[in-house]
């Protein structure tokens, strides 16, 4: 009822305003035409000057951003193809900043220089084939260069060689909201898998009956040997995710119903990158910030050392922002030692069957049905 009354009051108020406006309109001379709201010489001068000031201010602001924020950009790539990526990025950046500086400068300078004045005469300049040809052909050449450079890099990144350099095959398995890694084991071949095999402890849906699967190792941390190519196979259990390895310049979407892949060779171990000047400075900065925040009463977990991480970069649900996995890049020896400690999938299943024989039988019946 009150809502109804309020609506009536608002409606009546609206009508009042409308009527008042009509009275107001009737009461003044409707033929009075007014050009005061069109820019005059004073406006032109002021706004033209502001344009120049804005142009200069914009230069300074760009400069400030580069000066102040560049240290936040990612460190030099920790993967083999990443070095090429970084060069291409640098070249492209240089090209676009060059164009940006020139065009923004001209735009704002012309706006200042040719500000309107009474009596000034604009130049009737409608066409010039030569000029237009020049500024069509220059982008064509520059872009052709960038396209060719980019495409060569792209094909060398995306052409995955399954033979060269003794690559290791790792499956990255995504689900709301965590990652798992599956190592192919001694045979370097991943066992078959499908979400329909998910059962109890078999959380990533590996096919128990596939002999290749028995030596697979499933972990919740990703360890990579340095300087050895890694072929990643990505699989999702539920929705789209994207496996983003920013420090390795690598990313691939993880798509339910298909296996996607990406390969790279890590070149910098976790130990090494921690020792770089970039990372030491960055860590010191972050520690200062966190100390200030915890002094102010916030409860924060310690952040002592940098670790590579894998994060999700495709919206996947409410906890999308916290879907991460630690990555450790280490020497071949350390890697082998770590991998040796992990339990093989076959053993995991065997242990489960010993603990719970009835459940195990049930499981294999189900699986038989799935296979049929």
């Amino acid at each position: 009822m009150t809502v109804f009354l309020i609506i009536i009051v608002i409606a009546l108020f609206g009508i009042t305003v409308w009527q008042l406006k009509k009275i107001y309109e009737l009461s003044r001379t409707t033929s009075a035409i007014d050009t005061t709201q069109v820019a005059n010489d004073g406006d032109n001068k002021r706004q033209g000057n502001y344009m120049l000031a804005f142009g200069i201010g914009f230069y300074l602001f760009m400069f400030y951003c580069f000066w102040e924020f560049t240290d936040r950009a990612l460190p030099a790539a920790s993967s083999e193809h990443g070095a090429e990526f970084d060069t291409l990025l640098l070249v492209s950046m240089a090209v676009i900043m060059f164009v940006q500086i020139i065009t923004q400068g001209l735009l704002h300078y012309f706006a200042f220089k040719y500000q309107g004045k009474k009596g000034r005469r604009a130049l009737f300049f409608a066409d010039n084939d030569k000029l237009e040809f020049i500024w069509t052909i220059i982008p064509v050449i520059v872009l052709a260069g960038l396209i060719i450079y980019g495409l060569f890099t792209w094909s060398s990144i995306m052409n995955i060689d399954e033979e060269e350099g003794n690559p290791i095959v790792i499956e990255i398995y995504a689900k709301q909201f965590s990652w798992e890694a599956r190592y192919a084991g001694m045979d370097n071949t991943l066992g078959k898998s499908n979400v329909r095999f998910i059962e109890g402890i078999n959380t990533v849906g590996v096919d128990v009956s596939d002999p290749y699967a028995l030596d697979d190792k499933i972990t919740s941390e990703l360890h990579l040997p340095v300087n050895r190519p890694v072929i990643f196979k990505f699989r999702s259990q539920d929705v789209l995710h994207s496996a983003y390895f920013p420090h390795f310049r690598a990313q691939m979407n993880v798509v339910p119903g298909m296996v996607t892949q990406f390969a790279f060779t890590p070149t910098v171990t976790t130990e090494e990158i921690r020792e770089t000047e970039y990372m030491r400075d960055k860590l010191a900065r972050i520690k200062d910030l966190r100390k200030a925040r915890s002094d102010a009463g916030e409860e924060l977990a310690d952040y002592e050392e940098f670790d590579y991480y894998l994060l999700c970069n495709k919206i996947c649900g409410v906890a999308h922002y916290n879907m991460q996995m630690k990555i450790v890049v280490e020497t071949e020896a350390e890697f082998n030692a770590w991998l040796g400690e992990q339990t093989e999938f076959g053993e995991v299943i065997k242990k489960q069957q010993e603990n719970n024989p009835a459940g195990g039988e049930q499981e294999s019946e189900d699986l038989a049905q799935v296979q049929n």
Binding site: I33, T36, Q37, A39, D43, N44, F58, F61, C65, F69, R72, L74, E84, L89, S92, V99, Q100, L107, Y114, Q115, G116, R120, A122, L123, F124, F125, E132, W135, T136, P139, L143, L146, G150, L151, W154, S155, N159, Q176, V195, F234, Q237, D238, V239, S242, R249, A250, Q251, G257, M258, K282, I286, A301, F306, Y309, C316, V318, A319, H320, Y321, Q324
Partner: protein, 606 residues
């Protein structure tokens, strides 16, 4: 052929000098008059824009001060912000609906809907659109879809929250995210209706431009606004139906158990029956519209800016033919670049190469346009009306945002900046801010045409400068947090201590965002108060050449009393001189299109 068509139409409208009496309902509500429909589109678009921008301020506050409590969250979000702290669910919902509203409801319908309706008949010299009735239906469907979209904010489990790109399976499965229940259903219904209105509008615009041009208005004499709006309508007709089919298939997957986009899914302890579909197929279908949509948004802004720049620089637009050619080239290329949104989607890498190639090609016509605008300013006599300021601002943001497209369009470089804040910075500058500048420029420029009154220029200046500084303040630093590898659509960045040193950049961005959003109130005040209390506008306040300024200030159905003006020249004869150095019309630096060639005037071939 067309001459015959024109004569009939002229005859049938000759009696329009006297005005038939209209009631409030026929004049304002069920109006078939294109000028009224344009206003309806504009005001609906502005209202939707307010909602969209307020949403962005809310989630920007969460990003700058994660997990803090604000009374405004509690007031506006209610149960979604218990204790004034924004919940994760509503963060994603806000991001999603902000994107949807801004792209479709503000920049597609609000921009192209408004100015196509207003300008096409007036600038080509037609009494009205080819079908006024279809036009009216188009607006009403737009309003209906807006209402459904806004209504979806109030459903129990929340509005759609799978991102404005609504990639399945997330958008298909309510078990995966609450917003994919009723909220998503309403989203899809709303978009289906939106697509219907867009098609009706576009077909109408195309037919009108082709058939109803006045005598003498050849295609090469059309103002660039009309070229841009015409080509925009063609892109819309080509690509919007594809989104409709994607939406229909998604509806079927959601409600009727089909598996177009779903396969091998295990959720909440159960394997779903869906088998054999592919989310990548949806991505292709979505971006087949989604990318052209970017140009549907930006081309009208380009047309508007070209027109306003020429008028206010008192110079012809430089390289008219090149401008038309680049509009056509952009339109053609826009339909074959969609794959650059999907370089890392898992599609064949060879396709990535092809799409890199086409994508970088599109930079060429864009560059030509930018250079031509800059040259249009050169040796001009620039009148800094607010519309002109926004046009110059448009060129600036279009260049800044467009250049980073060269990085994103390169499949190699996209690997590492894909879906980071670098992308957000890029597309907000190049299509968000630029298109809004185009919209605002258009409103300032054609306000006198729409309402017969002037907007206040000083408020316009304040509005422009604060917006311009604020927009760069928001989106320029954003490139840098993107380069730091910060993903988009994160509720908070505190889960990765590595990102801690980006927090202060986020605070800077949010402060600029709040300032920029607040100053839009100046514009809204200026707009609405000028409708009623603005100074009376002269017939042709900006001394413009195009036909709409020859129509009387008072609106009448049919646009011109008596005969429709004939056209004798292109629309850019600003500061044209005869050989003796005198203006063609002595003492006047412009020659409207309806003025016949003067004695001794040389006709130029453009």
């Amino acid at each position: 052929m067309s001459a015959v068509g024109h004569t009939t139409i002229d005859n049938s409208h000759d009696d329009h000098g006297h005005h038939h009496k209209q009631t409030f309902i026929t004049k304002y509500i069920f109006s078939t008059d294109h000028k009224m429909i344009a206003k309806q589109f504009l005001i609906t678009g502005l209202l939707m824009g307010i909602i969209g921008i307020v949403m962005s301020v809310l989630f920007r506050m969460q990003l700058a001060w994660p997990g803090e409590s604000f009374w405004i969250f509690e007031a506006l979000l209610g149960k979604w912000a218990p204790g004034g702290v924004m919940s994760q669910e509503v963060y994603l919902a806000l991001v999603t609906i902000h994107g949807t509203i801004m792209v479709f409801f503000v920049l597609t319908a609000g921009l192209s809907g408004t100015f196509s309706n207003l300008l096409i008949p007036l600038q080509i010299g037609a009494r009205d659109m080819a079908s006024g009735f279809l036009n009216m239906i188009s607006y009403w469907l737009f309003l209906l879809s807006s209402l459904i979209m806004v209504g979806s904010l109030f459903v129990e489990a929340g509005p759609a929250s799978a991102g404005w790109t609504i990639y399945p399976p997330l958008s298909a499965l309510p078990e995966a995210i609450g917003g994919s229940g009723m909220g998503m259903t309403l989203w899809l219904i709303s978009m289906a209706i939106f697509i219907a209105q867009s098609l009706m509008g576009s077909l109408n615009y195309i037919v009108t431009v082709i058939n109803l041009r006045t005598k003498g208005m050849s295609m090469t004499r059309l103002p660039l606004t009309i070229w841009a709006l015409f080509v925009t309508a063609i892109i819309g007709v080509v690509s919007f139906p594809v989104l409709l089919s994607a939406a229909l298939m998604l509806i079927m997957d959601r409600s009727f158990g089909t598996s177009f986009f779903l396969s091998d899914i295990y959720l909440k302890g159960e394997v779903l029956a869906h088998q054999g579909g592919s989310p990548v197929l949806f991505e292709h279908l979505f971006w087949f519209l989604g990318h052209p949509a970017v140009y549907i948004v930006i081309l009208p802004a380009m047309g508007i800016v070209s027109e306003i720049m020429a008028t206010n620089a008192r110079k012809p637009i430089f390289g008219y033919r090149a401008m038309v050619a680049s509009i056509l080239a952009i339109a053609f290329l826009s339909t074959i670049v969609w794959g650059h949104h999907m370089f890392v989607s898992g599609m064949n890498p060879f396709l990535g190469s092809v799409f890199t190639f086409t994508t970088l090609l599109i930079a060429i016509p864009s560059a030509v346009k930018a250079f031509n605008w800059i040259t249009t300013l050169w040796k001009g006599n620039i009148q800094f009306n607010p519309a002109m300021l926004f046009s110059i601002g448009f060129v600036s943001t279009f260049i800044t945002g467009g250049l980073t497209g060269i990085i994103l369009g390169d499949s190699t470089l996209d690997i590492n900046v894909h879906d980071t804040y670098f992308v957000i910075a890029h597309f907000h500058l190049v299509m968000g801010i630029s298109a809004i500048y185009g919209l605002l420029a258009g409103v300032y420029h054609w306000f006198p045409r729409m309402y017969g009154r002037m907007m206040n220029k000083n408020l316009g200046y304040i509005h422009f400068w604060i917006t311009s500084i604020g927009a760069y303040g928001v989106f320029f630093p954003m490139h840098f947090i993107g380069m730091a590898g910060l993903p988009r659509r994160y509720y908070t960045n505190t889960s990765f201590p590595y990102f801690d040193d980006l927090a202060n950049v986020n605070v800077i961005i949010t402060i600029f965002a709040i300032i920029t959003a607040t100053v839009q109130a100046v514009f809204l005040y200026n707009f609405f108060s000028s409708i009623f209390f603005g100074k009376r506008a002269p017939q042709n306040p900006w001394n413009s050449n195009t036909l709409e300024w020859t129509a009387p200030v008072e609106h009448l159905h049919g646009n011109w009393p008596g005969e429709i003006p004939h056209v004798y020249r292109w629309s850019y004869d600003y500061s044209k001189t005869n050989e003796n150095g005198e203006y063609v019309i002595p003492g006047q630096d412009f020659v409207p299109q309806n003025i016949p060639l003067q004695k001794g005037e040389e006709e130029l071939n453009h």
